[in-house]
Subunit: 439 residues, 2 copies
């Protein structure tokens, strides 16, 4: 887990602000849930591998009984949030009467997994989720994909690909090649690792599961297509996928995203998906920038009633890794300064005047930092340079008696004398020409 | 721990945006640290009571040895962040070479305490901290107090009081009345509860500690003052507080905050404070809106070198409780809608047109939500009403063929027909007259 120093936070907030802006243009509303959930809420939702990666919280006080604790479950009652989908499903069931018929929410919060860190993968990471609850219509998938694509375009990505698939198509292919019902989920877990292990590796692992026609399966799921019609002609005859291909066709047609491609090998590891599934990739990142899908059964696990739902999750850290490497941040983020002006300080007698001046400038919207103690002018200018503040304001005895200040622009040797009455306008004119971070 | 539905999140983000705005005007930069810290980092920093309230995380995999675990410390290695000051001190020591000479940071993140919930007190809550590292000058305290006061004024508070005190003054009073060195911290913990237990309760508890002149102590610390000069004359002769009274005088003079009062009974529970301490109160909330102080020894616990530091922390939930009760939120927050326009949907044949229109409007900056499935017009209008969206846009077969749309403003019975070419302007004119949430 990592600390984010000011430059890092600004980059993170820049990406988050664009994600929020787009999701709000699409009519999604913000939701926040606590970092800590009841352990029972999380267990059994992410598959066996997921269960192992949950951070558990030790019971407290009298609840903790060391002598009679024989397992992790005896010792812990709470856990850290593992994703944002399960908490949303809990909220959708718990607040059903308070939420609108269709609940469109976005949620940008950290989640925690006790996983091995890798490039763009951390034990604490932010998910940026957008979900639409209450409708089975493919309008939902189409709008979600369209919103996520718009986020990436506004961030400056032009080479992403949105792969989509449908669980029923994948199940249809597996069943056609004789995979028994109890092996379906294990087979999907294997296929989900196609990116990492390659076709030969997947074939081998499927055979280890006892799936004889693994070669044929891997060959068929290797055929991607721009439309379901195209895929229909290339699929082996006799594969039954119900309405899956029609649904994929509707999604592609409604979303109008040229970045979409149907990929029958896309599996998505999580066990709660029931329909369309998606994933976004860029060429220079193994793993995905984000993914999601339809999960019509999950909310029912927390309430009396099944409610259809679908969502898309972007990984903030994955996006940041690629944007950093490609230098995609605008200069006002890369070169941000903590203030517009540094006010110098030379003697205890003038401190109060310096602080009053700072207060006046701030009231005019100028960001001011004050050197906190009397010091040599050279040291104060060096500090301004170190923190990248572009203007140094000198207020000494002589300036005070003349109701003026001296302004020195960093990187320039000359300094100008400005009347107090013209100071705000002068500073605003100087900073207008400079790269500046503002929210 | 609580869920925050969209209306709650908007209120929280409104307060946070004002806090950030003011802190940035004062030249503070954002920092974020992970939710999870090493347990060792937190233990011993908050006093015995604090240690008990830390949420501990169970060791994972091979690290967890149930058979040979005899204590909480054997079972856990990580813990949830308890405040933002200790993580900052760790960061200040760890990144000393990367940080500027004076590091001014703000940090707005959740912390967790296994405490009993009360009004405005939760097990997960947000602290909004602002700290200045690297200087012993009272300019630091003055600017911090001034920034926090400005936050509260911009939020609409006019009746807050900033109580300040100095640990050395408190120690001086206690020593003057014969309290031995080893009892000083226990006495401070008792005095910290003056608000809750009252003077009689504190006197009694001090006597239980073996402090004989408890009556006199409670009488002396009960004298608050607007200046150190005033306090000096009212203090019992012979009390020695070193430079404490001069420091308090400087802080009051430099900050120019009329809300400040010196309160010798202010104790602050945390053990890491070494100098000036502060607390903000409003009449209608027991407990404080925030507090802080100088902690010159804490960073040295994580590094080779002592670095002076001082900070102020606002409690987001405390502020929100009072603002909610006093109805202090502006109407654009109270009445926020998730979108400007709802686009209706009547048949599968027109879905694509509806989504394209949504896309055009969004490109013009209008927030659009689409009804996801064909339904009766009455139901769609009812839904718009439920989610508070002010304009319903009707796009049926006839409107499509005529390149028009019908607009219906919620709460008004008539609807108007608008040409597609004039649609963006028309919607912007309609929403300009309405209360609208925008970031």
């Amino acid at each position: 887990m990592r600390d984010f120093l000011p430059g890092d936070v600004r980059k993170r907030e820049y990406v988050i602000s664009i994600i929020k802006q787009v999701y709000e243009l699409y009519g999604f509303e913000p939701l926040e849930t606590p970092a800590v959930e009841n352990l029972d809420t999380l267990l059994g939702k992410y598959g066996d591998e997921g269960n192992q990666l949950i951070f558990r919280i030790l019971k407290r006080g009298g609840k903790l009984d060391l002598k009679h604790s024989n397992s992790e479950n005896d010792l812990s009652d709470l856990a850290l949030r593992y994703d944002l989908t399960v908490p949303l499903a809990r909220v959708a069931a718990q607040y059903r009467d308070k939420l609108p018929k269709f609940f469109k929410r976005y949620q940008i919060q950290p989640v925690w997994r006790a996983d091995r860190p890798a490039r763009g993968r951390f034990r604490e990471f932010f998910q940026c989720d957008v979900d639409w609850i209450g409708s089975e219509s493919p309008v939902v998938e189409a709008e979600l994909i369209s919103a996520v694509a718009e986020v990436l375009r506004r961030l400056g990505f032009s080479d992403f690909r949105i792969r989509i698939n449908h669980r029923d198509l994948l199940f249809g292919i597996l069943k056609h090649f004789g995979v028994a019902g109890e092996l379906l989920n294990s087979a999907i877990t294997v296929i989900d690792k196609l990116d990492k292990t390659g076709p030969a590796g997947v074939t081998e692992e499927l055979k280890l599961l006892g799936i004889e026609r693994a070669d044929e399966i891997v060959r068929v799921i290797g055929k991607s297509a721009d439309s379901a019609a195209e895929l229909r002609t290339s699929l082996t005859a006799g594969i039954s996928a119900g309405e899956a291909l029609n649904t994929l066709d509707s999604i592609i047609s409604l979303s109008s995203c040229p970045e979409i491609v149907i990929d029958p090998s896309l599996a998505r590891g999580l066990s709660y998906y029931t329909g369309a599934i998606f994933e976004i990739n860029v060429p220079d990142l193994s793993g995905s920038l984000g993914g999601g899908g339809r999960y019509d059964g999950l909310i029912g696990m927390f309430g009396k009633q099944d409610i259809p739902a679908c969502g898309f999750s972007l990984g903030l850290e994955r996006i940041l890794v690629v944007m950093d490497e490609r230098k995609m941040f605008p200069p006002e983020i890369e070169l941000a300064a903590p203030a517009d002006v540094l006010i110098t300080l030379f003697s205890k007698d003038t401190v109060r005047e310096s602080l009053r001046l700072a207060s006046d400038l701030r009231a005019a919207g100028i960001r001011v930092t004050v050197y906190p103690e009397p010091d040599k002018i050279g040291k104060q200018i060096k500090y301004a340079d170190q923190i990248n503040v572009p203007i140094v304001l000198i207020l000494g005895e002589s300036e005070l008696s003349e109701q003026t200040v001296a302004l020195k622009q960093l990187g320039q040797s000359r300094q100008i004398i400005v009347k107090r009455s013209q100071l705000v306008d002068e500073i605003k004119a100087m900073t207008a020409n400079l790269v500046r971070f503002s929210q």
